[in-house]
């Protein structure tokens, strides 16, 4: 799969991935996997790929130097800083800066924001009980934040959090940051 990825994106000027956990997989693990293979051309290909690889907010803020994309989104939003965006990619305030420039948007503080939501890939089903307990903490904090929408840069967390909000009829929904930045009028997503 790594070889396939390297092949497909060989000629790309910039590779944008709207998921920090996918970026972390490539950035943290591809060099190790290539080194373990002992294949010099594979190592070269990975080395050549990494500078062209951007997480969605990295592409906007660092590469394109844009924080205001002209979006309009008149809603109250809480940002869930996903574990990989926070601790692997160290995105810092990039997502918040992008949200801060969206007209009409109110960004509220999320209590215990840096706690994992409990998704964790197969963890969500292998340890469903613990995952549910972690999720219940996250949902409680989200509801306490007073937000109408939970945003993040990882759809995996959002599928998990959104699944609980939907099941509990919590009156709150999830959106990827890109969806909010793509909003252009007062009726929500265009």
């Amino acid at each position: 799969m790594m070889q396939h990825f390297l092949e497909v994106f060989r000629g790309a000027e910039a590779i944008c991935i709207p998921s920090s956990s996918c970026v972390a997989m490539i950035r943290d693990h591809y060099p190790k996997m290539a080194a373990a293979s002992g294949d010099a051309s594979l190592k070269r290909a990975v080395k050549n790929l990494l500078p062209r690889l951007f997480e969605f907010t990295e592409l906007l803020v660092d590469k394109l130097e844009v924080t205001d994309v002209g979006a309009f989104f008149p809603h109250t939003v809480a940002l869930h800083p996903s574990c990989h965006s926070l601790r692997s990619l160290k995105l810092g305030d990039r997502p918040a800066r992008l949200l801060g420039s969206v007209r009409g948007l109110t960004l509220v503080d999320l209590p215990e924001a840096e706690e994992c939501c409990g998704f964790g890939g197969t963890f969500a089903v292998k340890n469903a009980d613990v995952s549910a307990a972690m999720l219940s903490d996250k949902v409680r904090c989200l509801l306490n934040s007073g937000a109408e929408i939970c945003a993040a840069v990882d759809n995996s967390c959002l599928m998990h959090i959104g699944g609980a909000l939907s099941r509990q009829r919590a009156g709150m929904r999830v959106m990827h940051l890109a969806e909010i930045l793509a909003s252009r009028d007062s009726r929500g997503v265009v």
Binding site: V125, N127, A128, D129, M159, H160, G163
Partner: protein, 475 residues
């Protein structure tokens, strides 16, 4: 070959133990409260250190250097400790260590021993061995005493009774110390423990300690603690036996400079431990007149042999990873079925047991990375968890459902055509389960997801399909 690591060999799977614990509202409340308090204290005293990252790096480097030359430093420690009047014993495994300690106690004709916090003794089930030989062990660390009197198990490597609150501790003391009345204020409980323990400190002739560090260049042993009960144990009895895992050795006295800064701040959120005891061999007419060190391997050299996981042995048992862990926070330490719980336990226990047991522990993590972030010796726990999961799969021990799911995923993710085909099949397959774009019930193993959360249905149009259409429309 005896690796007990407490009772981990007979412990239930992590997810089975966790299922019950996440429903125990009292444990959840106690663990949340305690970890919140320690986390805040730690963050404060770590935040005031401008060179914290360098200290972490140094702590890691010293341990990595020591492990690379472990044979040298252990033998140096044996020489220096012996020269200072200590006696060094080598134990390959739990049974050897237990029989050495039991033999030493029996040689004194002692029927009782006092113990200062030694998790290693729980690892090898020393208390069981002592009791089987008619010797009564008394735990003197306050939390260990609570665990022992409550006929309970430790749930945290620094704060073993963290899962208990004051009311519960009061009840245990009332029942087991034969008291008629007792308040529930910390001072009341401490006074009861003091009266109970002091009598033993003055009477019992043999003490057993663990160690935070064994110092190779001086032959000294170091124990840090908060209560002073450890100080009593290492100074009052006639005979002192220190049980030390071989990874606890550090090259020089000066290396303490790093660890005595990082350990207390990480463990209890204190700038310095209230009691830092460092002793060297035997001093005539002062303290124990007979001093033994039992150096324990019990699976550690096997961990050392695994290049990808050997930094597990860097651990200085501060417990910061437990306090930071969102999984530990929900279950407490008992779910890990081992004396070593939390993230460090999830990598240490299965390795000490050569991956024979506790194979569910590497999966007891969402890999959120909070443990790595706080570790004062920079053990990359998430990476080692993934490495150990890889080993479980290599052994062919992954559950059937998982292997099947991975096969399906591998097929679907092989090419865009495969993914497209899988998506089309999914759209047909999901029809009976979809209501208003949402799936609330799925059959078979898939209900592990839908049991607690909804799942969005696979949309009619994928991103790729939308993109192709859009390109065509825009031209």
């Amino acid at each position: 070959m005896s690796t007990y690591v407490g009772d981990a060999a007979n412990a239930p799977k992590f997810q089975v133990a966790a299922k019950a614990l996440v429903r125990d509202t009292q444990v959840r409340h106690n663990v949340r409260h305690a970890t919140d308090v320690i986390r805040k204290k730690r963050a404060k005293v770590v935040g005031e250190m401008p060179d914290w990252e360098q200290l972490r790096e140094s702590g890691h480097e010293i341990k990595q250097h020591t492990l690379r030359h472990l044979d040298f430093y252990l033998e140096q420690f044996e020489r220096t400790c012996t020269a200072a009047g200590g006696m060094v014993h080598w134990a390959r495994d739990a049974d050897e260590a237990n029989s050495i300690v039991v033999g030493l106690v029996k040689a004194q004709q002692a029927k009782e021993v006092i113990k200062v916090k030694t998790m290693t003794s729980d690892e090898i089930r020393l208390n069981v061995a002592l009791e089987a030989n008619g010797i009564t062990p008394y735990e003197t660390d306050l939390a260990d005493l609570i665990v022992q009197l409550g006929e309970d198990k430790p749930s945290h490597i620094v704060v073993p009774a963290l899962h208990r609150n004051r009311m519960e501790i009061r009840r245990i003391f009332l029942d087991k110390m034969n008291l008629t009345e007792l308040g529930d204020k910390p001072e009341d409980l401490a006074a009861a423990a003091r009266a109970y323990l002091r009598e033993k400190f003055l009477r019992v002739p043999v003490a057993i300690s663990g160690a935070n560090f064994a110092i190779a260049d001086t032959g000294s042993v170091c124990v840090v603690e908060s209560e002073g009960n450890g100080r009593m144990c290492i100074s009052l009895p006639k005979v002192l036996i220190s049980l030390i895992g071989i990874e606890k050795v550090i090259p020089s006295f000066q290396d303490l400079e790093v660890y005595l800064q990082t350990l207390p701040r990480s463990a209890t959120g204190e700038r310095m431990n209230p009691y830092n005891s460092i002793w060297t061999g035997v001093t005539p007419e002062d303290g124990p007149q007979e001093f033994h060190v039992v150096l324990l391997d019990n699976g550690r050299t096997k961990v050392l042999g695994d290049r990808e996981a050997r930094e597990t042995l860097d651990c200085i048992r501060c417990g910061a990873c437990l306090n930071a862990c969102p999984v530990y926070r929900q279950t407490g330490g008992h779910a890990y079925g081992s004396v070593y719980g939390g993230p460090i336990g999830a990598i240490l226990t299965p390795q000490l047991q050569s991956m024979e047991h506790s194979q569910t522990l590497p999966y007891a993590s969402s890999l959120c990375g909070a443990c790595y972030e706080v570790c004062p010796v920079k053990i990359n726990i998430p990476e080692i968890l993934v490495h150990l999961r890889h080993k479980v799969v290599e052994r062919g021990d992954a559950p059937l459902e998982e292997r099947m799911a991975m096969k399906v995923a591998a097929y679907a993710l092989q090419s865009p055509e495969h993914l497209d085909r899988a998506r089309k099949l999914g759209r047909i397959g999901q029809v009976p389960f979809v209501s208003k774009g949402t799936i609330s019930h799925l059959p078979f193993g898939l209900d592990a997801w839908t049991g607690i959360r909804d799942l969005p249905a696979i949309p009619k149009e994928s991103f790729r399909e939308w993109w192709v259409k859009r390109e065509r429309e825009v031209g």
